[in-house]
């Protein structure tokens, strides 16, 4: 592994020396701020089984996110930090540090050797899955089970080759999921095939194998979206994760469908329908959840209001009624305000 990495860096630095800088872009500054109110129908905050939007009957904070990007010639960097519950205590690397620090969303450098070939090294938002940590990147404010159970971020080095505007391939070596430095070495290999068969339709077929949640495992993921008309967009995410050691919890399979329809210039209504199965491990049986989330995005300039109703069902009763008794159903209403700049 060391030899392979040394070879990659040597190749990269040689080509860097040969290449000429051509253009410099101004420093880009962007980011977001988000806050929300959530009301759980059973008045129990434990009914939220996916990431973020945790508090019941409270006007609560999401995070402030600040990203910097600069490109000089063929080289560029992105540095993105977040502060606040969504970016601190509820983000995995910072939770491990006691939740008192900030969370790095992206911290990487990129070099475009040619118009087709580029390499990136650092800590990046994961290439796996449909949803992301930043509320600006998602249509729904609450998150899916597939997002919560998959990787959030990956540190590593990756190479991307763009065959055309319709096909590109990425391959890389990564640390275990969601860590700034590897605890088990650079021990995962990942790849992504992007295809855009028709105008408006893009599909990503992702694979990541090696050190991950629950030990060593392999995740296969399909993430696709199709802007069918000016008003109608359809998204799909399907994934399967198998941990090598079948006695360990964490393997899953699932799919989520995301139809969205723009009812006006500034208003889009969307549905997320998800099926998620946590696979059996050791003596424990598999358990399945279905969830339906109805969301609206109402935009005014940089501000987006996101009212949302979410209903979850699992016949194994992981939810709670108002009195604390186990229940097969969970439900919540939330209203979020997200400002992107």
């Amino acid at each position: 592994m060391k030899k392979l990495l040394t070879a990659i860096f040597a190749m990269a630095s040689t080509t860097c020396a040969l290449a000429q800088e051509t253009t410099t872009s101004p420093l880009e500054i962007s980011g977001s701020v988000d806050t929300y109110f959530k009301y759980d129908f059973a008045k129990n905050p434990l009914n939220g089984k996916t990431s973020f939007v945790t508090d019941h009957n409270s006007v609560s904070l999401g995070m402030i996110d600040i990203a910097l990007k600069k490109k000089t010639g063929k080289a560029s960097f992105v540095g993105e930090l977040s502060f606040g519950p969504r970016g601190q205590t509820q983000s995995i690397p910072d939770a491990a540090a006691g939740g008192s620090s900030f969370n790095i969303q992206n911290l990487y450098v990129n070099y475009e050797f040619t118009d087709e070939f580029s390499m990136t090294a650092g800590y990046m938002g994961t290439f796996v899955g449909y949803e992301v940590i930043s509320p600006v990147g998602n249509f729904n404010y609450s998150t899916s089970y597939l997002f919560t159970n998959g990787p959030f971020q990956n540190a590593g080095i990756k190479a991307t080759y763009k065959f055309s505007d319709k096909v590109s391939l990425m391959a890389g070596l990564f640390n275990d999921w969601n860590v700034y430095s590897a605890s088990r070495g650079v021990s995962a290999i990942g790849g992504q095939l992007m295809v855009a068969p028709v105008e408006g339709w893009t599909a990503y077929i992702n694979a990541l194998s090696g050190a991950g949640y629950g030990g060593y495992g392999t995740i296969i993921d399909l993430t696709t979206s199709y802007q069918i008309t000016e008003k109608f967009k359809l998204g799909l995410n399907a994934a399967n994760y198998d941990i090598k050691d079948s006695s360990v919890q964490g393997s899953y399979v699932g799919a989520a469908l995301y139809p969205q329809y723009a009812v006006a210039d500034a208003v889009t209504i969307g549905l997320r329908g998800e099926y998620f199965k946590a696979k059996a491990y050791g003596p424990n049986a598999a358990t399945s959840t279905t969830a339906v989330t109805l969301t609206a995005n109402i935009k005014s300039g940089g501000l987006t209001f996101i009212p949302e109703v979410r209903l979850d069902h699992n016949s194994d009763k992981p939810f709670f009624k108002e009195g604390g008794a186990a229940a097969p159903n969970g439900g919540q209403f939330s209203l979020a305000a997200v400002y992107a700049f």
């Binding site: 880009e28 962007s30 992105v78 938002g125 990147g137 408006g200 802007q227 000016e230 210039d265």
Partner: protein, 192 residues
């Protein structure tokens, strides 16, 4: 007090002049940026060659030549619209357009029309990419909620296109062969 009044008046005048910048409409009711330029010193053939070079060399990353005759060039192009906060900002979208260039002896004209706006959104890696493949005509009337943002987009687009027009006129007025020769000159410090 006089100084304060002067500053307020100056700012007000700048604002008024900024508001006056807006697209004209063509016969079909579409926004158009249209310029006729007198060019007595440069021949028709040279102007045509320079226009072709502008599209295929200077702006090759953002323009594609569609067709050419002995007196005209048609092209398609896109330009990135920025949100700028003093010296820093980020791309907020792109505008695609059709570009027409026509030349006669002693003058030429060019115009940009069929402008479609595609908003950008930040992806998971912190880069700004097109949020959709389907553009919105710049002539549309936005709803109340998006009116302010749409006005900013129109202003930014006009500024960008005005800059594009200036660069095009400058490119057609410049002899690039002479310019290249001048650049190749070396200065010796041995004798003085």
């Amino acid at each position: 007090m006089k100084h304060l009044l002067f500053i307020i008046l100056a700012i007000f005048s700048i604002q008024l002049s900024a508001q006056q910048k807006q697209f004209s409409k063509d016969d079909n009711g579409k926004f158009i940026y249209y310029k006729v330029v007198d060019s007595q010193l440069v021949s028709k053939d040279t102007l045509l060659q320079r226009a072709k070079s502008f599209i295929n060399v200077a702006y090759k990353k953002s323009m594609t030549q569609e067709s050419i005759t002995d007196s005209s060039v048609l092209a398609k192009g896109t330009m990135v619209i920025d949100k700028t906060i003093l010296v820093a900002g980020h791309p907020s979208g792109e505008v695609s357009y059709n570009f027409v260039f026509e030349v006669r002896q002693g003058k030429y004209r060019f115009w940009l029309t069929d402008m479609l706006y595609i908003p950008y959104q930040r992806d998971r890696y912190g880069n700004f990419i097109a949020a959709t493949k389907i553009g919105v005509p710049l002539e549309r009337t936005p709803g109340k909620l998006g009116a302010g943002a749409w006005k900013d987009i129109l202003n930014s687009t006009y500024s960008k296109i005005e800059k594009f027009g200036y660069e095009f006129k400058k490119y057609l007025a410049t002899n690039r062969v002479d310019k290249a020769k001048k650049k190749a000159e070396t200065i010796s410090t041995k004798k003085w």
